[in-house]
Symmetry: C2
DNA sequence: CAGGCTCCCTAACGGCGTTAGGGGCGGCTT
DNA sequence: AAGCCGCCCCTAACGCCGTTAGGGAGCCTG
């Protein structure tokens, strides 16, 4: 019944009561949660549905997990499971840009991923590995430890904030059945029909504000930030 | 019973059934939601509690509001109700910095405000007014319309992303009863006790990564961004 | 064979968003 | 004055949710 997009999980034979469920680990739970997330969205992700996904009743989850919050932590880490660091070639700019672009693409690829990740305080092991590597490259580029830490935070805030804003119309489109394009057009229309006397700029720039080329918008902001970071380095390091 | 922090709302005499409730407008609803948010947090904000806050039963809210989502839209706008634009003095940098600092301070001041605002697609009238004014100043500084739109988006993403990350430990502290300082210390401890062979940077920079001076971290990122924006302008405009 | 550990179950609690259907009230038309 | 209508609230209920209590089957160890 569940669309198996991940590699072999869940042999879903209903086991007899009391029988230990084979291969039901926290890891399998996380992957099941990921499948439910993809299918139902974050709002539709419930203990009961995740339990059903692994062929079990809801109360049984509490053997493996303290509560839903902890399941979401697992899910959070599972979202980063197949993220990869960009190749270690080129200057620091291209490497950092690669990091941010990949992070964004990774979040965009999974439904409601930004909402899951946003404001979760403990980074999972997979994200830790990426942070470690990113910090390494920042140090190598010549940034001080304190600056490197702040830069990592800055980039994380930007990417998460950006994807959060760009992904919520996708969620709305998913809910209402409209296409992503219609949602953007509706937003533009909302700006364009504002009282022009009171909001001259919003009306005039409606298309600029809602233009659907979010890739370009993301890269624009990213390049501005990278420009600003470059100024921290001695000129010979660029 | 409710802490009345806003000016006179809600004459809470229990009205007879069928009696029109005096002064129960969408606006009053939004302010009531704001009080409930402050008291219970976003997770604890329910239709029933907001209804009780205005002295009414839950089903009655659906006369004024299509559903909870729409109530959250009202709440979103109410959060921006008393936000003010920074003074129109100084160069574009200080004005833009003022915008971002005020926006951050405003979100931080209200419990869970970042979560409410994050990923809400339709800006309310109060936010529209601020956007209009901000765009105006960007144009005046010499940025093109397209750039101004993107810059507005960029700054919004950064501030929202930043506050989202910084406010969730506050929420956790509120829930667990611990202080904000303890949460930060716990985070630092988590980094410091990582396996040093695998995560040398995270271990070494634990204090840099979790340093509690978030104001400095915010300003650091903000100044980097502003540096990057300055490079868009012709040199005589700075 | 006894005991204990593991892992699942059923049943239930209170709370949630939301809808259906009903009723009193105030203000309008006749 | 009588009737009507639209406003605004109510009670009751639906199906979902997270979570807990208590129990029982299968396995591993002694």
């Amino acid at each position: 019944m569940p669309a198996d997009e991940d590699d072999a999980t869940q042999p879903p034979g209903p086991t007899r009561p009391g029988a230990a469920h084979p291969g039901l680990t926290r890891d399998a739970l996380a992957r099941a949660a990921l499948r439910v997330l993809e299918r139902e969205g974050l709002a539709g992700l419930s203990m009961r549905k995740v339990a059903a996904e692994v062929g079990v009743k809801a109360a049984s989850l509490y053997w493996h997990v303290r509560n839903k919050e902890e399941l979401l932590d697992l899910l959070n880490d599972a979202l980063m499971a197949d993220a990869e660091a960009p190749p270690r070639t080129g200057d620091w700019r291209t490497q950092l840009r690669g990091y941010c672009r990949r992070y964004r693409a990774h979040l965009l690829a999974k439904r409601d991923a930004a909402k899951v990740v946003a404001g979760r305080l403990a980074p999972g092991p997979h994200l830790l590995r990426l942070m470690e590597d990113q910090l390494d490259r920042l140090r190598e580029a010549g940034f001080s430890p304190a600056d490197s830490a702040m830069i990592s935070y800055l980039l994380g805030a930007y990417v998460q904030g950006f994807v959060l804003q760009e992904q919520s119309p996708m969620a709305a489109a998913e809910t209402t059945g409209a296409g992503r394009r219609e949602v953007a057009d509706a937003a533009a229309e909302r700006f364009r029909t504002l009282p022009a006397a009171e909001f001259p700029n919003l009306v005039a720039m409606a298309d600029d504000l809602t233009g659907p080329d979010l890739d370009a918008r993301f890269d624009f902001g990213l390049d501005r930030i990278l420009d600003g970071l470059a100024a921290l380095l001695p000129p010979d390091r660029r």
